[in-house]
């Protein structure tokens, strides 16, 4: 099938993440008390890349955590469940400004689950959301504070984010559902 098209190249991803890193620091008036928390699985390397960008221009090491939301999903009995991966948070959450980082913002249900999961670990001062792709079709009142790219999509399409750390190369494609390729 021929309808696969590229949304972001490796370069586009890098530029988008650097821009988002600047926006995060600007909005929070510095990197003080920030913590970047990536959603397993591809949100985690994205969070590290944003932290690296902030370290570059702000000379501040922002702590990075990894959050698995599978134990908090609302569809645990209606689909095959993915592997539960470990949650690791670098420090207590109390008094921090958490920025959740995910690859694709879609229905908003993952973010709902992520906020519940986060609250079980402590009480951050605030939670913000950064998504590399916002593809629309929200089912909950959730919006991103920082977006790499807004992409209008149909429900018959899948946004495939590939990252070097997981997949061996960088790129974001829009793919018809029927030809979805293997994604671990």
């Amino acid at each position: 099938m021929a309808d696969e098209r590229e949304i972001l190249s490796a370069d586009d991803i890098r530029q988008a993440l650097v821009r988002m890193a600047h926006e995060i620091v600007e909005r929070n008036q510095g990197a003080h008390a920030l913590m970047l928390v990536g959603l397993q699985r591809r949100g985690v390397p994205l969070a590290h890349r944003v932290a690296d960008a902030i370290a570059d221009f702000e000379q501040v090491e922002v702590p990075v955590g990894a959050l698995d939301i599978n134990l908090y999903r609302d569809d645990l009995t209606s689909r095959p469940q993915p592997l539960v991966r470990p949650t690791t948070l670098p420090a207590g959450l109390d008094g921090t400004r958490v920025v959740l980082v995910d690859d694709v913002l879609f229905t908003g249900r993952s973010i709902r689950a992520a906020m519940d999961a986060l609250m079980d670990h402590g009480r951050p001062d605030s939670i913000q959301l950064a998504a590399l792709i916002d593809r629309g079709h929200r089912e909950l009142p959730v919006r991103a504070d920082y977006v790499g790219k807004n992409v209008p999509t149909s429900l018959d399409e899948i946004v495939e984010v590939r990252l070097i750390e997981v997949d061996g190369y960088d790129g974001v494609d829009l793919v018809p559902r029927a030809v979805r390729s293997v994604k671990p």
Partner: protein, 335 residues
């Protein structure tokens, strides 16, 4: 267009035990399935370490524990695991239940299913009882928490998890299991699990306490996955990565299978001197409860090589993983 990503039909990697509804023993578990359980259990350990030890995954699920034989750690471990995942856990003991009035296991089983239990965790003195129950259940799942001297799969899984955390891959690792193999469901399940993970199993102990199918098939591919039998514990310990002592079931020693506990202790107790023959980093394991000074010396049971307490902690994580795997997941949506 990217050329790197070939378009293929949906072939997601295995992440679930589906369509499995019961866990009866490890003899039908593939290596992939065991890895899924151990990986999930690692994530569950993180929940155990939290201040607030609860996640909502199994909200609204009902788990019954039916223990028709005494047990503290296994029953509490299952109950704790279920509660940390937000399931409702109801405990049924043998005494005080209708089993005392002579209700058959079949009727008890069907009654519990009719109450819409999602899962029954059963311990039964008769080998095979959980299989019998599973055959008659159309909706409810069964977890075998020990049936007679036959199997105890969640104990074996927690042992595998503990070994993997310390040794990495179990491929080619030498695991010595010593003691009363004849009465040990823990050992039987472990032999299957270890074989699936590629470990080399050597068993040791008095010939009278080694099951016939094991001693007959020593040094060859046998019904117990090719475990080797070495009656001399000193020889068995050479270069071992793991030494697992089994509880000498003194309540079952009336049949004259041992000359005396003293002789057993002299020849088969795991001691510091004998550990000297194993690898320096070798682990000391025991399924508990330990008869200190009989199958295992007190100093080893509480020494640095001992992972006995970690086994208990990992047991909760393994049971959380099994409950989660059996009670979540649905059909793959054809998209």
């Amino acid at each position: 267009m990217t050329s790197q990503a070939p378009a293929e039909p949906i072939a997601l990697p295995a992440t679930t035990l589906a369509p499995r509804r019961h866990v009866l023993d490890l003899d039908d578990f593939s290596r992939t399935e065991i890895d899924i359980v151990l990986d999930t259990a690692l994530a569950m350990r993180e929940v155990l370490d939290r201040d607030i030890k609860k996640v909502p995954s199994l909200r609204g699920k009902v788990i019954l524990t039916l223990f028709l034989e005494p047990s503290t750690r296994t029953r509490v471990s299952f109950e704790q695991a279920g509660k940390m995942l937000s399931a409702d856990v109801i405990n049924i003991a043998g005494s005080g239940s209708s089993a005392e009035k002579g209700e058959s296991l079949l009727n008890t089983t069907l009654t519990l299913q009719a109450m819409h239990a999602d899962l029954i965790v059963v311990r039964h003195p008769q080998a095979g009882a959980p299989y019998f129950m599973a055959r008659h259940l159309s909706r409810t799942g069964i977890i075998n928490a020990g049936d007679g001297r036959h199997a105890h799969p969640t104990q074996a899984l927690l042992d595998l998890m503990t070994m993997r955390r310390h040794l990495g891959s179990l491929d080619g690792k030498k695991v010595v299991i010593v003691g009363d193999l004849l009465h040990s469901r823990v050992a039987r399940s472990n032999v299957f699990g270890l074989a699936a993970m590629g470990a080399r199993v050597v068993i040791s102990g008095p010939p009278t306490l080694i099951p016939l199918d094991l001693s007959r098939t020593s040094h060859s591919q046998g019904s117990l996955g090719g475990a080797a039998y070495e009656p001399d514990l000193d020889a068995a310990m050479d270069d071992a990565d793991v030494v697992m002592a089994l509880r000498l079931q003194t309540e079952r020693q009336t049949a004259g299978m041992l000359p005396s506990v003293r002789e057993y202790t002299r020849r088969w107790q795991v001691t510091e001197a004998r550990m000297g023959r194993a690898k320096p980093s070798a682990l000391v394991m025991h399924p508990g409860p330990v008869n200190e000074g009989i199958e295992l010396s007190s100093s080893l049971a509480h020494g640095v090589a001992s992972v006995i307490e970690e086994q208990v902690t990992n047991g909760v994580a393994i049971r959380m993983a099994i409950l989660y795997q059996l009670l979540t997941g649905g059909e793959l949506q054809t998209a």
